[in-house]
Amino acid sequence: MIELRLNGGSYEVEAPVGTTLADALRDDLGLTGTKIACAKGHCGACTVLLDGVPVYSCITLVHTVGEREVTTIEGLREHPLVDAFVRSDALQCGFCTPGQIVAASALVESNPHPSSEEIRHGMAGNLCRCGTYPKIEEAIATWQD
């Protein structure tokens, strides 16, 4: 049994050693907003924050999280980025979208007015097969509007 600090609360998770953070969130806590698309840390769909730093939860073992605060899309539902993504049509199938928004939240936290180049390179770790990148860039550029 381990304790997770998550989205401002505290949760107990019974997970065998070797369980990833993504599986613990999805299977044990029912937080399915975090998606798994590759399960190998290549695509970014599973992005969550650990103490504000984006990580791929599909290759993060839940037992290594320790005291760090986990933030998932469920903890960011009121973030202005959510509306910005919808307004800009920055999602198509939407499977990568929660991960994109989590990653973008860390980007704008450290740099509230990122340039086009900063967005394009800052978000390059989050793939989107539908090709929504131009609209994602627009959403992040206008997130405070």
Partner: protein
Amino acid sequence: MARLIRTEKEVEGRYEDVWLVVEEDALDPWPAGPREIVGRPAPRVTGLMRARGEARYTADLRLPGMLHTAVLRSPHARARVKKISFERALGAPGVRAAIGPGDAHVLTDEPGFQGEAVAAVAADSFARARAALRLVEVEWEMLEPLLDPDEAVRRGLLVGEASRYERGDVDKSLAEADVVVEAEFRTQTVLHNAFETHQSICEWRGDALDVYISTQFIWGIRDEVASQLGLPPDRVRVVCEFMGGGFGAKNGAGDHTFIAAELARRTGRPVRCMLTRREESLATGNRNATIQRLTAGARADGTLVALAGEYVNATGWGGWSAPTDGPMRMLYDCENVRTTLSPAKLNTPPMRAFRAPGFVEGTFGLECLLDELAARLDLDPLEIRRRNYADVTGDRPYSSKNLMECYRRAESHWQRREAVRARSEGPWKRGVGLASQVWYGGGGPPSYAWVRVGSDGRATVITAMQDIGTGTATAMTQIAAEELGLPLDRVDLVLGDSARGPYASISAGSSTTPSMGPAVRSAAADAARQIVEIAAQRYDKEERVLSLQGGKIVSADGGSWPLEEVVGLLEDAQILGKGARGPNPTGMQVLTFGVQVAEVAVDVETGEIRVERVAAIHDVGRVINPLGASSQVEGGIIQGIGHTLSEDRLLDPESGTVLTQTLDAYKLPTSADVPEIVTELLDIPDEHLTNLGSKGLGEPPIVPVAAAIANAIRDATGADVRSLPITREEMLRALREAAEKRKEERGAPAAV
């Protein structure tokens, strides 16, 4: 009155005659241009749920008691199972059942490609199922794989029949042509790699089966599963509320559905079968590689006199023969055309439709060849396309064609090329190229929708279609709101369940909006008609003076009443409208057209290529949602850039095993690879096509991308790239070839 007709149905260029019951499609078309809601940008209706992580995809469903599956897939491209034993696997912790060859029709003891399903284990968790899979003991007999498409054609090993098309006299015309260009083009195998992998959950309820599946075609799954398992179709319920991408790979039930159904039957539990990314890269289809040996003959003024193409599709172990020769047959006004198309059967993973199958590949070859011809004749590439413009091909008129207007709109982008070339600097050479697009996208019947209006004055569209991420749900909501005179936020949409709505079209072949949209409009009009009839009685007016506008019933002779006032009279009763998609215009070709202009920069020392700008001008009839449409265009172009420059499903040339099974090895475009994209849609309704005049847009934008980029590369460097992806290696090869050609020309005696 219901009418029984025999009509033609087209999906992705394949026509079949079908019997249909249609209702009269009596609605007048809307005038061209934006209306209150239709034709105006709308954020997608499920956007907030998706963005907040609330949308439940098949991957997110958890049924009580659900088991998980791991599938044993052939590690060899061609092999035979001599012996298989489940004894140790069945004894492993948490394992509930195991099945092998003979237990389900999708399991084989003689796999013909790496990744073909052989056996499966169901267990309490995926980890346990996977662990048990390692305990399945298989004795393999390895067989020699066939991997060379030309060799397969020589041996007559084909998937289906080779096809041949001919009009006019090609040989005679080529002999008489002023100039003949010949070239061989090759395109690679690419993977769909939708982010939600293929997966199903199957649960038996007595002799009925529930299938939760990530699919592009709820009704096709129902029919395929029912027919395979010998069930009446309505004993199979298919559910797909949110769907994480398909691009053509999810039209069928796939092996996973039948594996889950059989394991669920044996265990009496719901069973999930979800593919891993590696399995996704092997067993769920691909855009097959092609070889295209092409010839074009023209007069000195650029008029095409003959086109010929020998096409080989490296189809793989199964699938169908995509119409790679389609653009050559359809794009230009040329009297003499001959194509052959051979689908090679190989020990490689089977093809499946992938966003304009055949036409993406064939357009690359044809449109590059045309630019090589233009270069030989020193003609402007845009001019040579206008000169060979087809007002008609074959004996069928177009329902509408505005490609010439697309060319006119392309001019301002095309005229940038002097300025673009002038920005060349050091090793970075810049240039501009263009390519035309033709594709299907007319949709067709049958497709049905219901519209329910409740006493709160809200409407719900009900149809058992799927929205695979294209924004169809939003477009349908807009159409219903427009017809009912309701604000968009007073219309809901229920989709995704074959037991809870009428039959709806496949989401493939750019057909969902043109198929479903007219049915939704009909259903909304039916409901509106009934509301007007009731209101006329309630307010003592003639029906003809009443209309629905802005959530009100408005009388032309003054007076208006909120919609909820009259439908509120009914308390819990509801107005129910129903609508059906009418037939396509008889004897006409319903096609989409367009042109794209690409700007590139090439580092001639390293072979690096950057796409800097793409302008896309397409003619797809009436545009329902300009915002969603621009997203579709951008998505198609970005996928096209991946296809052109970086994506390649690589095989080990000896063993035929796949080397690129993960998303680090298989290179999808990232946000840093995206150019400026300018989208222009003509938005001219097709007056012959349905009560909407809308065609599909999912596929057209990817069709011309590779050719436009390759032609821009030629403009920048003088090099003819003829093979996809255009890696640095291919770029440097083409540059060396161009340099040698220039040297030869300089050294050769002056032309006579």
